[in-house]
Amino acid sequence: MNFVSFEFVAFLGTVYGLHWMLPQAGARKWLLTVASYLFYAAWNWRFCFLMLFVTANAFAAGHLISSLPRPERKLILATSIGIDVAILVYFKYYNFFVSNVVASLANLGFSPSLPILNIILPVGISFYTFHAISYVVDIFRGKVEPETSFVNVALYISFFPQLIAGPIIRATFIMPQIRRRRPYARSQQVIGIRLLLLGFVYKAVIADMLAEVADPIFAHLDQYNAHALLTATVAFHGQIYFDFAGYSYMAIGTARLFGYRFPRNFNYPYRSASMTEFWRRWHMSLSFWLRDYLYIPLGGNRGGRLEVYRNLVITMLLGGLWHGAAWNYVVWGLLHGFGLCVNKAWSGLRRHLSPAIERQSGSARVVAVIITQLWVMLAWIFFRCYSVAEATDVLGSIIGLHSHPGAAIIPLELWIVLIIAIDHTLGSGTWRRSVSREWARILTWSGIGVVLALGLAAMPLVQKPFIYFQF
């Protein structure tokens, strides 16, 4: 069920009305859990059982970890995580693994016959397995108490605003909210509506508009010239941000309507002046998850420089694979890992050379932002193309390594950069002028009405699925 659809509006309206009509907190949680399973069943009801199994695994492991002595606790933790990872690997990576093994053995002269499975990838599996792992690990670390109520864990893992594409929410963050009764606060409703509106404009208007530019070109790369490929790359650079940030704002806004706070997932990432800063602003819930549950357990910043670089590259490589079972995602992850290593080395070098140049001047920051964004954009080519070969062809054409004859399109790069600049400048600045309370109300609500009318008129009627639904 797409967030930008009649079905979702009807679903949300119904669940919202029922939720706030129910007087008891327990009943509300049951309602949200059942609604979340119905939401998931609208895509494929069979996989509700898989999600239920993942939930039961986390719930049982949580209890066992809290009740057993330390050595057994580790075993339970490993078993629980192993089950989640096995499910993820089976559905997401098995065919990728087998086809690569077969190809490698074929190169060596063998002809093995390993079965390729005809399975579909359950929507949101990468997200809800991460939620389950987060719950169990946080209990193991003593950061969160094991739940006595199964429905609380089920709601945490399945809560529909974040079920399909995040944000990935820590158990430590959300479980205390689930346990307590969520009061109805009108101020929270206003925030929720505003976030929903912003997400709607991001996704339904801008991202889908940019998809109309990028998609046809990436689908027929051989038919367009190098400049068109550049336009498509810049369009995708904008599309993926507005698409995913739009989804995240809508998810956070929807949760707010039910009284739940979700952490921020994007903080204007295209104003980052380094790759490290980029990952503090982009898909923050994933990057912090990878940091806490992967990078730090690998050793983090401890040890020698090479060990830190190794940890960064492994983390980003697995982050790339998390997005999809394909070599282009691996390369995307490696490019980000390499970018982070270079950034780390440069920071160390600057500190070593002179503390005076540690503070960036305005112009130096602009240069740093441009370099960072060019690197991010380069990596998006690998993310968007269907294969590494396609991506290198696009990259080679754009930077002029080889000619790429084909049709031209009207260049839109400046317009796309302009809209990103408007968003990042006005969104992250302190531009709001103080007005009287009465005027603030008038401007807020009539402004919401204006944006809604303009957005509905400007959006393409046939909405594209959110990009991150495939992960």
């Binding site: 508009m209 609500w445 919401i448 393409p460």
Partner: protein
């Protein structure tokens, strides 16, 4: 792509407004709702003005057809064909015009006929055509087809929430859609409720201009309409065609779910509305025709329709001589759509009948 640039600027404006909205306490719910509605209506008004000033019209097959039709400003009298894919496939307008011309009545035949166009959509664009045509038609020929006449909302269900169905569902179309819904016994209560909701939803999307900026184009932009385009060739064997044509000629019954009184009360009222719309624009000659079909129910419907509309010229495509010429598999794209030689034969035959009737100016 130029339009995308303009829309990106508009999107930038929207993002800017979103970010600049002051942080406010909610206040009373009704005042918040009131201001929201006021903002929405003001923006809708501004959009309506902008659409008029910019001359934007919905993009789609009808826009392309209208572009072609309204441009005609020759000296010849105009005959307008109003129909669906049956007409689009089965009649060659150029050949029909020539056929009429050889009889000493030089006529420009303009087809307002698009595949899958229900009556509501035809009337919507007929009005648009009449308001912008450089030369008004002297005669309008309406296609008769049992499926379209009996289930005027079928296409709405088939193409629901498409740009095309939203574009045609103004208040007037919605009124006629509801009139049919309340007058028919052919749909269950549940289907009626669902259909009623869908009509209202389409109306809401139309009135709210939803998706309009994206799916619109300047009315004066060349559209590249090709009225002679025809579907790809499928083949029946000659024996199959002969057998089907014979069966169709013998059929007397309509489909069970079609209204048995022909035309239905709704259809009669709708035709009256169409004709009075045309009369307001000075058009007062009407005729009806049916394209040959290998489905007996369609032929039986056309026969009954023409019998009931005795005040008008009504031509059923089932003349024995015509059918004898259409007994080749290559004449048919499918059961209801002619092609190739079949199309040429029927066009010539229809031209001769029209000349015989002396309807043309």
């Amino acid at each position: 792509m130029t339009k995308t640039a303009y829309l990106l600027v508009l999107a930038g404006l929207m993002v800017g407004i979103c970010h600049l909205l002051p942080r406010s306490l909610p206040g009373r719910s009704w005042t918040a709702s009131l201001f929201l509605v006021i903002g929405f209506i003001l923006a809708q008004g501004a959009l309506s003005v902008a659409f008029t000033v910019l001359g934007l019209v919905p993009r789609g097959p009808f826009h392309e057809a209208l572009e072609h039709l309204t441009d005609y400003e020759g000296d010849r009298p105009v005959a307008l064909l109003v129909g669906s894919s049956f007409t689009q496939a089965g009649i060659d307008p150029e050949a029909l015009g020539e056929s009429l011309g050889t009889s000493g009545r030089s006529v420009a035949v303009l087809p307002l006929a698009i595949a899958g166009a229900p009556h509501l959509e035809r009337l919507y664009y007929l009005k648009e055509y009449l308001s912008t045509a450089k030369r008004k038609p002297q005669i309008v020929l309406f296609e008769v087809a049992g499926g379209y006449d009996s289930s005027p909302l079928y296409q709405l269900q088939q193409m629901q929430f498409t740009d095309r169905m939203i574009a045609m569902m103004d208040g007037y179309s919605a009124w006629w859609a509801f009139r049919w819904l309340f007058s028919t016994d052919a749909v269950s209560l549940t289907t009626s409720v669902v259909l009623g909701g869908e009509i209202l939803a389409h109306l809401g999307l139309h009135v709210g201009h939803i998706g309009f900026l994206w799916n619109s184009t300047r009315a004066d932009r060349p559209a590249g309409h090709d009225p002679s385009s025809s579907p790809p060739t499928l083949h029946f064997s000659d024996d199959e065609v002969a057998s089907l044509i014979d069966q169709a000629a013998e059929t007397r019954d309509l489909k069970a779910d079609w209204p048995q009184n022909v035309p239905s009360n709704w259809m009669a009222a709708f035709l009256e509305e169409e004709m009075s719309t045309l009369q307001r624009h000075g058009v007062d000659r009407f005729a009806f025709y049916s394209v040959p079909s290998m489905q007996g129910a369609n032929v039986a419907y056309a026969r009954r329709f023409c019998a009931a509309m005795s005040k008008f010229t009504c031509i059923v495509g089932e003349d024995p001589q015509l059918l004898a010429g259409l007994r080749h598999g290559t004449d048919w794209y499918d059961f209801d759509h002619l092609q190739g030689d079949g199309r040429d034969l029927f066009t010539k035959w229809l031209g001769d009948r029209l000349v015989e009737q002396g309807l043309l100016p």
